[in-house]
Subunit: 575 residues, 2 copies
C-alpha cells in the first residue's frame, strides 16, 4: 500500500489522509519528523501551545523484516529544551504504523474543551474518541486495560500521569511485544501529547504489509546485515549483560559521573554492574536476553525479576542504572529496578528524573543513597503532582533553579547522561553541539573513546574529538532515519559489509540507488535542518556550551576539566 | 572625605578599601553598578556561583540634601533573568553609604564553610562576622533585633527567608526611616546575597558627610529642583493617593491586566483603588503621606493600618496592589496589604510573586480571588521552602514551566508588571527591549501614553512607541545614576527648569560642567554597556520579544494584540 500522511487536528477534532509531498518522500524516522517540524512548526511557538505539532514517523525500513528496524521517531518542539526534538524508541508501534501505510502522523492544535481523547489509527485513517476511564492511570494499566477492551493485535502509544500533567520530563511510551513499556524519553514529548489531551493511540494495520520493490535483493542484504550485527563483539556483550555492561567499563575509565558529577568513579559500582545484574537475572529465573521489538538480533533488553521471581522491569538500561546508582549513590539494584518500573509506569524519563534526583540530593531534599526516598518521591510526589513532584518532574535544570544549586549537569536544560565530559571529552562535544540538548545517543563517541570501535581517540585529550563527534552525529542522524536501532553502529563502524548491506536494504525497499555519500549527505541535511530551526527559535552558539562547573571543577580520579574553548566547539559546524 | 571602593571577599573572608579607578569616577548608582558588573563579572557565570559579584552603589547625589536623592542601586548578574541587573530602592542605606565615603561596595566569592555572616560597614571599612541568631528570620525581626543589639543610628540591608533560600524572586531589603522595609525587588538580587551567605549589612557613617564642591550653587539648584517636583500635578497626585492612584486610570485605559492577563479591565477596581485606599487610611488613622527616605518631597508612600488602627504596611504600591488585586482578582485591600507585609517580611518581590500567583491560579493551584490562599502560600509554603513555595518563589516563569501553563507573562523570565502591552503599546517596547527583563521602570511610557506627561503618544497605535521607549530608557538610565527617585521624571519632562537644576546639582557637588548632552550620552553608555554584557552572556534579539500569547490573544475591551514585528522592535537599538 502507498505510504500516506495521517493528519489529526485536535482543535477541530478532524482527521485526514494526505499524499506525501515530494520533499518528504525520501525521508523516514528522524529525517522526516525534523523535516516536518521545521516546515510546519513556528520555531518561537510555546511547545505546549496550539502551534506545536507532534509528529510520529516509522523509519525507512520499519515494518519490513530487516533486522533491528523497529524504532519509532517522535518529533516536536521540546518543552524541556525549547529546541527541535526527535526521540526514538523500540516497541511495536513503528512496525505497525508502517504496515498501516502511515509514513507519518502529524497531530496539531489543542482541544477547545477540557476533555481527554484517544486516537485509533488503521489504514483507513484515524478516529478520535473521548476517553475517561484511563485518565489518571499509569502506562501499565493503560496497556492491560486496552488488551481487554480491544480485539486483535495492535500497538499502543500512551502517556502516564507525567504526560497528563505536562511535566517537561514526560515520556511518550510504547508497548513492547510482551506488554512492557519502551520510552521515547528525552525532551518531554509526553508533555506535548498531554497538552493535546491525547491519553493513548492504538495502531492496527489490519493485516497491512510494507511493499518491497526487490524482495530477493532485500532478503540477501538482510542476511549480510544481520550477520554483521550478530558477529560484532559489542553486540554479543550487549546480549549478555545488556547496556549495563558499561558500568564497570565506564567506572574503569574514570568517567562514571558519581554523587551528582563530583567524582568519576563509584565505590559501589560492582553492586550495580551488568555482571551482577546478569547473575541476579539468572538466579531469579528472569531473561538475560529480550527484544524490544520483533526482529531484533542483538536483544540487549532483559527481564529482571524481583527476589520472588516476579517480573520487576525490562529495558533496564545502563543510563538509568548509572543515574540512580552512581549519580545518586544507590547501591541496591532491586531498588533501582523498582524505581525504573515506576518511571515506566508514570511515563517519565529515567535519565532526566534520576539526574534531577541527584541535584535534589545535593540540595538536601533527600540524602545521597536514599533509594527508598527516590521511589517515595516518584509515587507520592511526581505521580500525584505535588509541588516537589513537579519540580523534580520538570528535570535537573528545574531542581537547580528551585533550590539554587550551581552544579547542575544540563545542556540546553536537558540532563547530561552517564558519561562525564571531563574524562571522556568527545562526548562533551556531542553534549554541547547536539541540536537537542545533552544526549549521548546523538553522537556516541564512547564507541571510539572507550570501546575502541571505529578506531581509537584518547578520551582525555582534545585532539580529534570535534571531528569524531561530527562524524558520529552525521551518521547517527542518518541511522535514526532508517528505523534502525543505534546499536547497529558498532558493526557499521567495524565491519565493512554492514553499511553497504544497510544501503542495499533501503535501495531494495524503494527501488533506489543510494550510495554511501547519499547517506552522509542525508545526515548533514538533518543536522542543518534541525540547527536552522533552533536558530530561528532564538538559540545561538552561546547555547552550545557545557555548564560552568565542568570548566572549573576537576573530576577525580584523573583530575581533569572540560577545556574546549567556545571557538573550538563551534568548529563542529564547519561542514 | 574621598569616595572609595569597599571590597569584600567572601571566599577568603577578607575586606579592603580601594581607590576609585579613573573609569569609574564619573559614575554612581546604576551607571556604576553596571560598569563594575560589566568589568568584573564573567557574563556566562552562574549567578549564584563564586564568579558573580553583588555591587551596591549610592547615586551621584545620594547623601546630600538634594531632594529625592536617596535611592540605592544594587547590581549583579540576575539569577532570575540571566541578564545584568540593577535594582534600586529607597530607604536610608544609600545616604548612609555615601556619608561613609563608600562610592561602591563590591561583594565577591562564596564562603568555603556552610556558615552565615553579617557585614558592618563604617568609613574605616567592612567587618565580617559570623551570624547565627537571625538566620531563618524575617526582615522585620532582623531590623528590630539589630536596633536593640547595636547602638546609634545606622542603616540596614537585609534578606529574609527568600534570600536565604536563594529563591530567584528574593529581594534585598532596606530599612526605611521608621523601621519599615523598602525592597530592591526585581531580578532576585536577594538570592545573590543569600548565595554569598550574608544575612544583613549594617551601615554606620560615624558622622561622616558628603563633600559639596560649591555649596551655594548646590543650595540654589536644589531649591529650584524641589519646587519643580512639588509643583507637578503628578507629584501631587502621588502624594495624595500613592502610586495606587493608577488603578482607576489604567483600568479606564483598558490596559489593567486582569485574571492573569486575559482582560484589560477589572470589575472590582473601585475596591482596590487609590481613592479607596486614601479614604481607608484616613478613617483608620494611618498616614496618607510618608517618605521612604529623608529628603523626599513627593512622599508617595503611606502608612496603611488595619481595621484596629494598627500599622499593616507601608510602601503599598500600585504594582503590588494591581498584581494581587486585578491580576489575581482579589477585591479585598486589607488582604492585599496583609500579603504585602508578609512579602516585605520574607523578602520577596511583590510583582514577581503576585504574577506567579496569577499563573498558579490559572493552573488551578488556588482559585482566582483567593486572597487568603495567597497569604497561606506565602507563610506556609514560600517562607518554609516547600516544593510549591519554591515554585512560586521562583517566579511566574517557573510556575508556567512546572504546571505547563502557556499564558505566562514574562520577558527574559521576569514577570510583566501592571500595564498590558497590547493596550499600552509603548510599555511593550520597554518590556521587550529592556536590558533587564520586563520592567516598567526601565522606560515608563505610561507617562506619555496615558498621563500626557512629556506630550502624548496614543497607546493603541504603533506610531512613535519605539522612539518614546528609547528616549525614556536613555533618560532613566541616567536618572538611575544620580540616586534620584524615578518620579522626578514627570517634572523633568514637563518643567523646563527641572532638568537644568538637576544637572546643576551634580556640577555643584563635583565641580563639573556637565550639559544635557552629557546626561543623554551617559544614559546611552549605560544601556549599551548592559546590552554588551547580555550579548556576551548569550542573549540575542530573539530574547527581545513578548510571549506568544500577546500576539495571538485579543485583550478586551479594546480587543487588541501586540503587533510589533521583530524588526520593528529591533530598531530600538538604532542609536
Amino acid at each position: 500500500m502507498a505510504d500516506k500522511i495521517f493528519r489529526v487536528n485536535m482543535t477541530d477534532l478532524t482527521t485526514a489522509i494526505e499524499d506525501v509531498p515530494a520533499d518528504w518522500a525520501g525521508h523516514g524516522g528522524r529525517g522526516l519528523t525534523s523535516t516536518i517540524v521545521a516546515a510546519e512548526v513556528i520555531p518561537t511557538c510555546h511547545p505546549l501551545g496550539p502551534n506545536n505539532k507532534l509528529v510520529f514517523a516509522p523509519g525507512l525500513l520499519s515494518g519490513t523484516v530487516a533486522a533491528n528496524s523497529g524504532r519509532l521517531s517522535i518529533g516536536a518542539k521540546s518543552p524541556l529544551t525549547g529546541t527541535i526534538k526527535e526521540s526514538n524508541a523500540g516497541g511495536t508501534a513503528a512496525q505497525l504504523l508502517a504496515r498501516a501505510g502511515c509514513k507519518a502522523m502529524i497531530i496539531e492544535g489543542l482541544p477547545k474543551e477540557d476533555k481527554w481523547y484517544s486516537l485509533a489509527l488503521t489504514p483507513d485513517g484515524v478516529t478520535i474518541s473521548e476517553e475517561t476511564e484511563l485518565i489518571g492511570k499509569g502506562n501499565f494499566e493503560v496497556v492491560e486495560t486496552l488488551s481487554k477492551r480491544i480485539e486483535g493485535k495492535f500497538g499502543v502509544v500512551t502517556i502516564g500521569q507525567a504526560g497528563e500533567m505536562k511535566l517537561t520530563s514526560a515520556n511518550v511510551s510504547i508497548k513492547d511485544p510482551d506488554g512492557g513499556i519502551r520510552s521515547n524519553g528525552r525532551g518531554g514529548l509526553g508533555a506535548v501529547m498531554g497538552s493535546k489531551k491525547i491519553k493513548f493511540i492504538t495502531i492496527d494495520p489490519k493485516g497491512g504489509k510494507v511493499d518491497i520493490a526487490d524482495p530477493d535483493k532485500f532478503k540477501a542484504a538482510n542476511r549480510i546485515f544481520a550477520k554483521a550485527l550478530i558477529d560484532h563483539p559489542v553486540s554479543q556483550a550487549l546480549g549478555q549483560y545488556g547496556t549495563n555492561v558499561l558500568v564497570n567499563i565506564i567506572n574503569e575509565s574514570g568517567g562514571l559521573p558519581t554523587r551528582n558529577f563530583t567524582q568519576g568513579q563509584f565505590e559501589g559500582h560492582e553492586s550495580i554492574s551488568g555482571e551482577t545484574m546478569h547473575d541476579t537475572i539468572e538466579q531469579r529465573g528472569g531473561k538475560v536476553k529480550h527484544n524490544c521489538h520483533p526482529g531484533c538480533v542483538i536483544q540487549c533488553s532483559q527481564v529482571y525479576n524481583d527476589a520472588d521471581g516476579k517480573k520487576l522491569t525490562s529495558g533496564f538500561e545502563y543510563e538509568s542504572i548509572w543515574a540512580m546508582g552512581a549519580d545518586c549513590c544507590v547501591e541496591d539494584l532491586d531498588r533501582i529496578a523498582e524505581a525504573d518500573r515506576i518511571m515506566d509506569d508514570i511515563g517519565i524519563d529515567t535519565i532526566e528524573t534520576s539526574v534531577a534526583m541527584g541535584v535534589a540530593m545535593e540540595a538536601g531534599v533527600l540524602p545521597f543513597g536514599d533509594g527508598a526516598g527516590i521511589c517515595r518521591i516518584l509515587k507520592e510526589e511526581i505521580a500525584k503532582g505535588t509541588g516537589l513532584g513537579r519540580i523534580i518532574g520538570s528535570g535537573a535544570g528545574a531542581v537547580g533553579r528551585a533550590y539554587g544549586v550551581t552544579r547542575v549537569p544540563v545542556v540546553k536544560n536537558q540532563a547530561i547522561p552517564a558519561y562525564d565530559p571531563r574524562a571522556i571529552k568527545g562526548i562533551g562535544i556531542t553534549y554541547a553541539t547536539s541540536t537537542q540538548g545533552a544526549d549521548h545517543t546523538m553522537g556516541y563517541t564512547i564507541a571510539t573513546n572507550i570501546l575502541n570501535v571505529g578506531g581509537k581517540v584518547d578520551p582525555l585529550t582534545k585532539e580529534g574529538q570535534v571531528e569524531l563527534s561530527r562524524n558520529l552525529q552525521i551518521a547517527t542522524a542518518a541511522i535514526d532515519s532508517t528505523g534502525m536501532c543505534l546499536f547497529i553502529a558498532f558493526a557499521a563502524l567495524d565491519d565493512e559489509k554492514c553499511l553497504p548491506a544497510l544501503i542495499d536494504l533501503i535501495n531494495a525497499r524503494f527501488n533506489l540507488s543510494l550510495t554511501g555519500d547519499d547517506i552522509v549527505n542525508l545526515g548533514k541535511y538533518i543536522l542543518k535542518t534541525e540547527r536552522a530551526f533552533n536558530i530561528a527559535a532564538g538559540f545561538n552558539s552561546a547555547d552550545d556550551r557545557l555548564p560552568e562547573f565542568f570548566y572549573n571543577e576537576e573530576l577525580p580520579p584523573h583530575n581533569v576539566v572540560f577545556d574546549f574553548t567556545g571557538e573550538e566547539i563551534d568548529t563542529f559546524w564547519d561542514f
